[in-house]
Symmetry: C2
Subunit: 175 residues, 2 copies
Amino acid sequence: MRVVVLRIGHRIPRDERVTTHVCLTARALGADGVIISNVRDSQLAETVNSVTKRFGGSFHVETGKSWRSTITEWKQGGGKVVHLTAYGIPLPKKVEDILRSKEDKLIVVGAEKVPGEMYSLADWNIAVTNQPISEVSALGVFLDWLFEHKRLEGEFANAKMRIIPTEHGKTVETI
Amino acid sequence: MRVVVLRIGHRIPRDERVTTHVCLTARALGADGVIISNVRDSQLAETVNSVTKRFGGSFHVETGKSWRSTITEWKQGGGKVVHLTAYGIPLPKKVEDILRSKEDKLIVVGAEKVPGEMYSLADWNIAVTNQPISEVSALGVFLDWLFEHKRLEGEFANAKMRIIPTEHGKTVETI
């Protein structure tokens, strides 16, 4: 199953940092890549790619692609679309349905305003709490559930740097 | 068990949005309050308090308190300190220890630079992946595990507005 995050509504410079948090969260918690829709942002791509180069894996970043055509193509390819929104159905009520479906997953996270159309295009509108929350933590919690709480210790291939878990301190190994 | 989040290294205006995401995540996922250390930020407190006023609960925000004395007082009161850091021990390896301890928990999340002392002051340095990640998603995933994945459907007392979970759309009820 391929898992890609679609970030919609990214604005430069306003969302630079939050979108970077979205990308790092997606990578760390096991997504295959991220698409930043409608806006080209080579600086953001560079920041995230430099993390991947150092810490490994094959996380890909694409920017500037239309969100509508991204979703249309995804569905034409047989994939499913999960939109994370506080207005949706609580994750615990839908997690079994989602885990039963073996299709590729496109996980959509918006910035402040999400086009109304998104709610009908999504196969699932899922709430990580029906409360005002951050799309960054909603994505983190969702991916953790999607991978059944088993991706917190993943190793990344081809890493040049690796953090060695330490009780009280910081240890980084250069490979 | 009381759970409070301590945000250290907050800078105005650079961290305004990310710290707001930290606060909303803490509230939505069941923490009792947040302390923003060393910097007074009444605007941030107002933003978060206005969410609580509308969506309920008794989440409290305190800003400008020294992080060192916050930790010292917390420990003197018998509470435990969990510092979330990519350098720490993976959460799955420590979650049982943490759940066994019934003491109040202070969950520390830093901005970019965390004072070295923090690593020795914490009872646990915990990694939500040993990868570069966002403190917002690290906090979200950690709180979800701390509450044993049972707080995603919590109701908040005294809410004036409530989101009604909807398959495809947005429904908000004014109470």
